[in-house]
């Protein structure tokens, strides 16, 4: 099995699936000769031609709307939005068209497409290049949202997303792109959307997160006393998310910390905490705690590390939850 980083895993998976399914078309800014600004689509235009790997005009709403039309016309588009901050102009097409089409036509018209979007902070990029808007696209019904944190998961989730008959937003944690390698099976496999991954089993406290924060949580675990048994869950899918995994874990541990990069208020941490208190109320030994970005704009990079949840902040929250 080859060792791949996240960029390579997505790249090879795209190639593999484009080989298998002629309906796949990639479109986006700089995805062609340049191979994308993160090189995720490197070599694909040379291999599959400029008809299937399309450099688009600089217009995210156009990319999204045209992709919706391509899907309605029988293709399986994979639009790329260059950074999650530029989903803004495409928001209306995504939530009000892609997310509604099947429902408003009572199943007559579907929009099978996978929207690939580099996501999250941690790479010292300019403004609007480090956000994490997963809660936004989860609150709007009709769109699936996934955030793989490792190359192996990325492959399985990407294949599941592409083959899903509905629109999926596939957020790619930039910080992980080249910072982590693992063996990725060459064969075809999918990971069901909506299934969390148990990263480490534990009995004292549940730690729930996704994306690059999985690694920050792992770092936090390293600093915790040996006898603290943490159950670390990588949610992987945000919409729908694995309620069962979350609830069962907290029913077991009675304590929970949710960690995400996005701002706290009305973020996914709130939903997860609420589901826990709704469904595991009598098991809870302490309030569910949120370790998240602050309720302010993701700062320019000098303060980026202060904004993002750190291993230290996570550790502190875990300790306090345990001490409650």
């Amino acid at each position: 099995m080859p060792e791949l980083n996240l960029v390579q895993a997505i790249n090879t998976t795209l190639a593999q699936e484009m080989e298998r399914d002629e309906r796949l078309v990639l479109l986006g800014e700089d995805v062609g000769a340049n191979g994308g600004v993160f090189r995720v689509t490197e070599g694909l235009q040379a291999r599959f031609g400029a008809e299937r790997v399309v450099d688009s005009p600089l217009d995210e709403s156009g990319i999204m709307g045209a992709a919706i039309g391509l899907a309605m016309g029988g293709m399986r588009p994979i639009p790329e939005i260059q950074f999650e901050g530029f989903l803004g102009p495409a928001y209306d097409q995504l939530v009000n068209h892609a997310g509604r089409m099947r429902n408003r036509t009572r199943g007559a018209i579907a929009v099978p497409m996978t929207v690939r979007v580099p996501w999250g902070g941690g790479i010292h990029a300019p403004e609007l290049h480090s956000d994490s808007p997963e809660a936004i696209y989860t609150h709007h019904p009709g769109i699936k949202v996934v955030v793989p944190s490792t190359p192996r998961d990325a492959k399985g989730l990407l294949l599941a997303a592409i083959r899903d008959p509905d629109p999926v937003v596939f957020f790619e944690p930039k910080r992980v792109y080249r910072s982590y390698k693992e063996e990725v099976p060459e064969e075809d496999y999918t990971i069901p959307i909506g299934q969390a991954k148990m990263v480490s089993e534990g009995t004292d406290v549940s730690l729930i997160t996704w994306g690059s924060m999985v690694f920050e949580c792992l770092a936090a675990l390293d600093n915790l006393p040996e006898d603290v048994s943490v159950e670390l869950i990588d949610l992987r899918s945000i919409n729908p998310f694995d309620r069962d995994a979350v609830i069962q874990s907290v029913q077991k541990t009675g304590r929970c910390v949710v960690v995400h990069e996005a701002a706290k208020t009305a973020g996914m941490g709130a939903e997860i905490a609420t589901v826990i208190q709704e469904e595991a109320f009598l098991h809870l030994q302490a309030p569910v705690q949120r370790v998240t970005g602050f309720d302010t704009i993701m700062p320019y990079y000098k303060l980026e590390n202060e904004y993002l949840p750190s291993a230290k902040r996570i550790q502190e929250a875990v300790e306090q939850v345990l001490a409650y």
Partner: protein, 376 residues
């Protein structure tokens, strides 16, 4: 060269059938046969009758807001007959009812839609029609994508999308035009410039002298036609479709027309436009003009008219009956079609019709056994 000209453009306006029903024979060559004209006249009349019926339904509380097509019917029928049913896609806004009917949409679908029922959008298999689009100016991008798909799949189809003058101000109009141009997709942009976007007149919508000139920025063939003239509409659409099929890419058509009614049943156009203006446009009504033409060619009579009126009444009464005969949807319907497979939590919401989650023993609250899959 210090100063040199790098770009030149010119836009023409075409009219074939004038307001008195007189035809320009040269331009009319190879356009519509008399038989076709009769057919289009009938379609326009039925559509207008439906408008009247729909208006009454709304007023009597049997239907929600409804936008009449009155005055603009020539655009719909002239374009529809220039396109191939089942091959070409229609991507409408909401003032092209007759085009949809001609391409196979059961008439009661339109009423169902405005009766607040998504099943009015559940386009029957085989029809190449997208549902009415409520958010203005956003659906043209879908037409571009559909046309693009046809190009990639080497199908002969063309996508024709309809929209109003107001819609040309939205950002997505710009995107659609630009993508269509750069990808050279077989797409026709049909703008029904009816002079108003609710209460906002064309002059406040854009500082350009015409809407047609907006296409110049995208390197797209463009023209103006008299949108109340079925011949001009037909010819412009047919030429654009032929060009698109031959690989010539997209075209833009600005059709000058007028809505004779209110914007919708929720609107009162008297608040913002003068009776004189409306009256002057009544003289240009496509139904009157087409009838005059047919009379001139001895293809029409009062008898035929009253037969048609009778038929239109019967058809539309039947349509109302069908639409009103459809039972209110089951609440399940609002959950079942969000995704191809309904997620577990949404299924719970559907089955319990509630979002709160109490009422069971804690410990078994709505939980399935681990790994137990959900199937619809």
């Amino acid at each position: 060269m210090p100063i040199r000209t790098v770009y030149k453009a010119q836009i023409d306006h075409m009219q074939i059938l004038d307001e008195d029903g007189k035809l320009d024979e040269k331009l009319a060559k190879n356009t519509l046969t008399d038989e076709q004209v009769v057919h289009l006249y009938e379609q326009m009349t039925i559509c207008r009758t439906l408008d009247e019926v729909a208006f009454k339904l709304q007023r009597s509380g049997r239907m929600g807001t409804y936008p009449q097509n009155k005055g603009q019917e020539a655009n719909a029928v002239g374009a529809a007959i220039a396109l191939e049913k089942g091959t070409d896609w229609l991507v409408p806004c909401y003032r092209e009812n007759a085009a949809l009917f001609m391409h196979g949409l059961p008439m009661h679908y339109i009423l169902l839609h405005w009766m607040g029922d998504e099943r009015g959008n559940q386009i029957p298999d085989g029809l190449k029609i997208t549902p009415l689009s409520i958010p203005i100016g956003t659906h043209m991008l879908h037409a571009v994508g559909i046309a693009w798909a046809m190009k990639l799949r080497k199908e002969r189809g063309v996508a024709c999308t309809f929209f109003g003058d107001g819609a040309t101000s939205e950002g997505d109009f710009h995107g659609a035009m630009n993508f269509a141009g750069t990808q050279q997709v077989p797409c026709i942009f049909y703008c029904q410039n009816n002079q108003w976007a609710i209460s906002v007149p064309r002059e406040i919508q854009t500082a350009g002298e015409t809407i047609a000139q907006k296409a110049l920025g995208y390197g797209m063939p463009t023209m103006q036609v008299d949108g109340n003239d079925i011949f001009a509409v037909y010819k412009a659409t047919k030429d654009a479709a032929d060009r698109a099929r031959a690989g010539g890419g997209p075209s833009f058509i600005e059709a000058i027309t007028y809505r004779l009614g209110d914007h919708t049943t929720a609107d009162d156009a008297k608040r913002y436009r003068s009776a004189e203006e409306v009256d002057s446009w009544k003289l240009k009504d496509p139904l009157i003009r087409t009838r005059k033409y047919l009379e001139r060619k001895d293809q029409w009579s009062d008898k035929k008219q009253s037969e048609l009126d009778e038929r239109a009444k019967k058809i539309t009464a039947e349509v109302v009956k069908t639409a009103e005969g459809i039972e209110k949807p089951h609440t399940d319907d609002m959950f079942n079609h969000l995704f191809s497979e309904i997620p577990a939590e949404l299924r719970r919401q559907r089955d319990t019709l509630r979002t709160h989650s109490l009422g069971q023993e804690p410990g078994q609250v709505g939980l399935r056994a681990p790994g137990q899959a959900e199937h619809v």
